[in-house]
Subunit: 337 residues, 2 copies
Amino acid sequence: MNKVGKSTYKMPCDVFIANTYSIAGPTEGEGSFKDFYDLVLEDDEWGCKTHEKCEIKMHKEVISELLMRENLGEKDIDCIMGGDLLNQIIATSFSAREFETPFIGLYEACSTFGEALSLGAMLIAGGFMSKVVCATSSHYGTAERQYRYPLELGTQATPASQWTVTGAGAVMLTDKCDKDEIVPKITAVTIGKIVDLGINDVNNMGAAMAPAACDTILTHLSDMRLAPDYYDLIITGDLGKFGRSVLTYLCQHEGVDISDRLNDCGALIYSEEQDSVQGGSGAGCSSVVFASYLFKELKNGGYKKILLVPTGALLSKLSSLQGETIPGVAHAVAIEI
Amino acid sequence: MNKVGKSTYKMPCDVFIANTYSIAGPTEGEGSFKDFYDLVLEDDEWGCKTHEKCEIKMHKEVISELLMRENLGEKDIDCIMGGDLLNQIIATSFSAREFETPFIGLYEACSTFGEALSLGAMLIAGGFMSKVVCATSSHYGTAERQYRYPLELGTQATPASQWTVTGAGAVMLTDKCDKDEIVPKITAVTIGKIVDLGINDVNNMGAAMAPAACDTILTHLSDMRLAPDYYDLIITGDLGKFGRSVLTYLCQHEGVDISDRLNDCGALIYSEEQDSVQGGSGAGCSSVVFASYLFKELKNGGYKKILLVPTGALLSKLSSLQGETIPGVAHAVAIEI
C-alpha cells in the first residue's frame, strides 16, 4: 500500500510534470506574474460573443497548446481531467468535447486543480495511465454573473472579497520523461476532507476555506512526518491575503508555525497597485499560477520542494439562499525536483 | 500497464463491491424495482423544508446506512466519491460535510456513477486505497426547478422526455472481502470520451447521450476483444426507451448487434402503468438501480457478468441558451461474479 498516515499517498514510481501552458486575462497580465504567462488576453472576450464562450476557448486552448508543446496528438493522451466553477462545469466539458480523448470531469470549486493533480498522479503511479492532462479555468465575468450580480450594476467590493481570476492552466502528467533538463515530479498527495466552521459570509471565502487548508496541511505534515521547513514553499490556492492570515493563525493555534513558508496564489497574483481587495480566487487561480510562475521556478531551481494546496468553497447560490454555511476543502500535492 | 486497447483498464487485483444501499422516492417505490430498494420515501420532502435539503438527506443517509451495514466508521473509509446534478454538486458536498472522510467530488451529469466506480476501482487496484464509497443522487423536484420550470406550472411532458429519478445509491468498494457469499467484483473499466452529434433538443436526452454510449460500449468490446454475448446484460444509465432504441440502431450501424443483451436503467425503473414517457433519468438513476436490483441479482446469480454504462448529458441551462448542442459521455464498468 502506498498510503501513509490518515490520507496521504506516496507515489510508488515517478510521476513527472512534463510541461504546462497558461493563459491569463488582461488584468492578470498586469499583475505579479505578467512575465511568466504563456499568453495574456488583450480583453475579456477574446473574440467570443459571451464570457462563457471565452472561458471555454481559454480552457480548450491551454490543452491544445500543451499538446503542441509536447508534440502529442489528442489520441496520445489517456485522459483529460479537470473542472471549473460554472454550473455543470461547461467550460471543461465543452472544451473537452473538441478532443478525441477520454474525459474525467471533476468539481470541487477552486480546489479542483489539486483534485485533478492528485487523481492524475495516482492513476499514473497505479500503472493505469501514461499521460494525463489536468486543466482548470475561471473567468471574472462568468463567475460574477453566476454567483453575484450583473457586471453592469457596478456593485462595490466588500472588504473581505476577492477578484475571480480570468485564466486557465493545464499541466501534462507523464510516467516517463527523457528531457535533458530538470523536470518536477509529484511525490505525494493528501486528499482533504470537508471542513465547515460555520462561516456564512459569501464575500469572505478566505475565512471559509482556511480551516480546510489548515486540516489538509497539518494532516500532510503529520502523515509524512515532516516539519514545515521540509518545503521551500507551502502555497495555497486562493485564500487571499485575509485567508492567508487566518490560516497562519489556525496552524499556530494547532502548534505548528508555517508562517515563514506559507503563501497563497490568490494573495500573490495581483500587484499591490491593483485594487483586488484580498486578491484573486477561482478554479483557474492555482492552475494559472502553477502553470506559469511556480513551474518555471521549479525548473530553474528557484524552488526545490513545494506543497501546492488548492482550496475550494463548496457553496452554491442556492445553498446560501437556503441558509447553509460554506463548506471548505483542500488537497495537498507535494512537488519536488 | 493495466491498459488494454484504446481506453480500457483491467483491474490487476480484486476490487470487490462489498455492499450497497439504496433510497428511492415514492414514485420510484411504485415502479419495477419496488421490492429491491432498501428504503422508499413516503413523500418527496422526507421532513425537509426544500427538495434540495431532501436530496442532501438522501445522499447522506445512503452513505450512513452503508457504513452501518458494513460495520464501518467514517474514519475507516479512504474516501467518499460522487456527484449529483445540482449546481456545484451541493447534494454531494453537503452530505460529505457530515463525514470525517476525505472527499472527491465528481461531475459528469448522469454518468457520474460510472465515473465514480471507475476511479474508485483504479485507486483501489492501484494500491492506494482500501475502502471507497461511491454515491450519486438526483431528485425530481430539484432537477425540474434547476433545469426546467417550476413544478407549480404543471408543464406538459414532451414525447421524448424523461422523468428525473428521485433516489440515491451508494456502493462500498474494497480491496479485501472475507464474506461467505458471492461478492461481485469490478474487473475492468472503459473511460469514455465526449461525443456530440449535434442534438440540441433539451427534452431528448436519450438521443443526445446514445452516441456516447455507443462509442464507449464498442470501444470496450473492441479493447477487451469480447463479443457482446460475453455479458449477460449490457445496461446503460438513463437513455430511456427512445434512447435505448437509438443506441441499438447506432451499434447495428457499426456492425455490432447488442439488441439481445441491451437494456437501460431509465427505461426499466418505472412500470408500464406509470406515465413516465420515455422512462427515468438523473444521476441517481443508475446508482439506485445498481444498488438495489442489479446488485441483488448479481449476488443471487441471476446475472454473472454485466457491463454497466452510466450515461451523461453535459449541458447546462446557460449552454443551451447560448445556442450550444448537447455533448454526451458514458463510462463502462465490467462487473462479474
